[in-house]
């Protein structure tokens, strides 16, 4: 079974469950009738209907995935889960989350930003240039970004930095 269809199967299951939860939660929302609210303006009405549509779409996707699974059960060899470079995407996710959730708030903005930019450029730059050149470029970019972003947004755009 091809990877994208396998992804469809799992996603359709997730969507079906999520939609069911949305429908149930919408039904359980207060109707506010004790406040004299018209029953047709109850807060759960629209999300409940959207949940029903998503439930229908999730079931359609699920049925289609199951049908295709049966049709391509044995002879088709499966290809790698994700074409391309999943490792690089995971590295980028890790670095970005470490910056946004780990460094910011614990270090001053400029320091956190400088460290993140240095690590990002260094991590991805090695495949393109020599180590000393990559590290030099990463350091220069880190200093430039930390100073430029801090000054530009605090002084010019008057924006509060995290």
């Amino acid at each position: 079974m091809p990877a994208d269809r396998r992804g469809d199967l799992w996603f359709s299951l997730l969507l079906t469950v999520l939609s069911l939860v949305v429908v149930i939660e919408s039904w359980r929302m207060p109707r506010l009738q004790d406040l004299g609210v018209h029953p047709m303006s109850a807060p759960g009405l629209t999300p409940g209907l959207i949940g029903l549509v998503l439930l229908l779409l999730g079931l359609l996707l699920l049925l289609r995935s199951l049908r295709e699974r049966r049709a391509t059960a044995s002879p088709v060899p499966s290809r790698p889960a994700v074409a391309g470079h999943r490792g690089r995407a995971l590295l980028a996710v890790g670095l970005c989350l470490a910056y946004a959730l780990g460094l910011l708030g614990r270090l001053p903005f400029a320091w956190a930003t400088g460290l993140f930019v240095f690590a990002f450029v260094a991590a991805f730059g090695f495949e393109r240039a020599r180590p000393w050149r990559t590290l030099g470029g990463a350091a220069a970019m880190a200093v430039f970004t930390a100073i430029a972003v801090t000054l530009l947004f605090e002084q010019l755009f008057l924006v509060r930095l995290p």
Binding site: V37, P39, T46, I50, F116
Partner: protein, 505 residues
């Protein structure tokens, strides 16, 4: 006549040094964003919305419109030189732009794209001046029933058109967007939905952090996942196109401008379809259809005229119905709300000059892409030579700062991260992002109007299909849904024996 004089006055009002300075830097930034593969007009407009929200409304919206026009135009550079569309709107431009570049006519192709984009933008702008006041007046006839259908139609057609091969995924993305907009305090009784006691969740998922995540963080991950792209060295000697290529193709320019503007006006369709429909129409009408896809200047002219004409087109429903014509226009709509402008049918009553001011902003943005595009073709190529590992961390820092800036809430940074990861996963599974964005924007409109409509009709669904405008919108929605069902499409094709329908299957 009154409108034209207001338009002329607005153009003159923006001819000040500070406004022109903003026009130049914002257009250049837009072109640079559009040129970078992976960075889109939506991201550019969303990031700048968060960073300019403390500016005066006029300055901020001018900057956003220049960025929007610049980015849609800027993507043509990459399409011609690298065979990679800088933004999705420039995909059709690769078909003839890149073969022209390979034939040593890159500069000429860039010039044709520039002139086409300029003419398309100017035509769309004129249509905005002429149509928007009339459409706003027509919009005054809309009640809750009609707005319900408008919201549903927008999501359904955006889902269908952005996922031609698999419309179910487009619709899932659109309805997920509508669902996400339901989180937090609703607009009628202030009940906090899906919040579970969290004050952050009861404030709702911020539109701009969500967009910055879905178009910024997700794009960074997509770009970093791919193998690096080749950079260009030369644009060739000739930058200006042969004027004969333009003057003898005035009909192509006019047709593409009309089609682009119309595609822009249809909710959720936008610039991508503006380019594709114009390109297809030009090929059908051409005396040399065999040259299309092999370096036809006519094809490139049609695609670039069409996508830039769709920009003012997409702004027309933003101003008159508060319904965006495309994903970047959805961000522009949010920005207008942030700056205290309330687009919608009442715009000509509450802000009578605003439509003409927006048209004047489009005028200056169009002039800027013409002048900067022709004058700075070679220097702008340096943007493409910046290694992505240097650019992407800077973009991510801007995503974080931008998400935090509007409300100084750390929760908004989490929303950005969450939507970025969700957007990346959905993209990997071929779910389009435009319907998701449109759903998030239209969710509140749908919710309030549906419940109001149900109260007005005492729970009866009948007015939703019996009121004339509602009935038309309902039929259009049904037609789009049926068009997305393969057996129905095949049946229609068999019925009419129409070979052309097969290309939509």
């Amino acid at each position: 006549m009154e409108g034209l004089s207001a338009f002329a006055a607005a153009i003159a009002a923006f001819a000040t040094p500070s406004s022109l300075f903003n026009v130049v830097w914002a257009t250049l930034l837009g072109i640079a964003v559009g040129m970078m593969p992976g960075l889109t007009a939506t991201l550019g407009v969303a990031l700048l919305t968060t960073l300019t929200f403390r500016m005066a409304a006029g300055d901020a919206i001018l900057i956003l419109i220049c960025t929007y026009v610049g980015a849609i135009y800027g993507g043509s550079r990459t399409a011609v030189l690298l065979n990679i569309p800088g933004t999705p709107a420039n995909a059709a431009s690769t078909l003839d732009g890149y073969p022209l570049a390979r034939a040593g006519r890159a500069g000429e192709a860039l010039g044709i794209a520039t002139i086409g984009s300029f003419l398309g933008s100017i035509f769309g702008m004129l249509m905005l001046v002429l149509i928007a006041p009339e459409l706003a007046e027509f919009g005054l006839k809309f009640q809750s029933f009609e707005f319900v259908w408008l919201a549903i139609f927008g999501v359904v057609i955006a889902g269908r058109i952005t996922a031609l091969d698999d419309p179910i995924k487009g619709w899932i993305a659109g309805f997920l967007g509508l669902l996400m907009a339901q989180v937090g305090q609703e607009g009628i009784h202030a009940y906090a939905r899906f919040s579970y006691g969290s004050t952050d969740l009861s404030g709702g998922l911020g539109l701009l952090p969500a967009l910055v995540g879905a178009f910024g963080f997700a794009e960074i991950l997509s770009v970093m996942k791919q193998a690096s792209y080749e950079t260009v060295r030369d644009a060739g000697r000739r930058i200006l196109p042969k004027m004969r290529d333009i003057t003898t193709r005035w009909w192509t320019v006019l047709r593409s401008s009309v089609l682009g503007t119309v595609m822009g006006i249809v909710p959720g369709v936008g610039e991508d379809m503006g380019a594709w429909v114009s390109y297809a129409a030009a090929r059908r009408a051409s005396r040399e259809p065999e040259t299309f896809g092999k370096g036809s200047t006519e094809g490139l002219l049609a695609a670039e005229t069409g996508n830039n004409a769709a920009v003012p087109g997409a702004i027309i429903p933003v101003l008159t119905l508060a319904v965006p014509g495309s994903a970047p226009a959805a961000v522009l709509l949010a920005a207008m709300f942030i700056h205290g402008v309330r687009p919608g049918p009442m715009i000509m009553v509450e802000f009578p000059n605003f439509v003409f001011e927006v048209a004047a902003m489009l005028f200056w943005a169009s002039v800027a892409i013409l002048v900067l595009g022709l004058a700075l073709t070679r220097p702008m190529l340096h943007v493409l030579r910046v290694p992505r590992e240097y650019l992407m961390p800077l973009v991510f820092v801007l995503c974080v700062v931008g998400s935090f800036a509007i409300a100084s809430r750390v929760f908004d940074v989490w929303v950005m991260l969450g939507f970025g990861l969700l957007g990346f996963v959905l993209r990997e599974m071929n779910y389009p992002m435009a319907p998701l964005v449109l759903g998030i924007v239209l969710g509140d409109l749908l919710d309030k109007n549906f419940r109001r409509a149900m109260v007005l009709s005492e729970g009866s669904l009948e007015p939703l299909v019996t009121r004339p405008i509602s009935a038309v919108l309902a039929l259009l929605t049904l037609a789009v849904v049926l068009w997305g069902i393969a057996p129905v499409r095949r049946g229609v094709a068999r019925l009419f024996g129409a070979r052309n329908l097969s290309k939509w299957q």
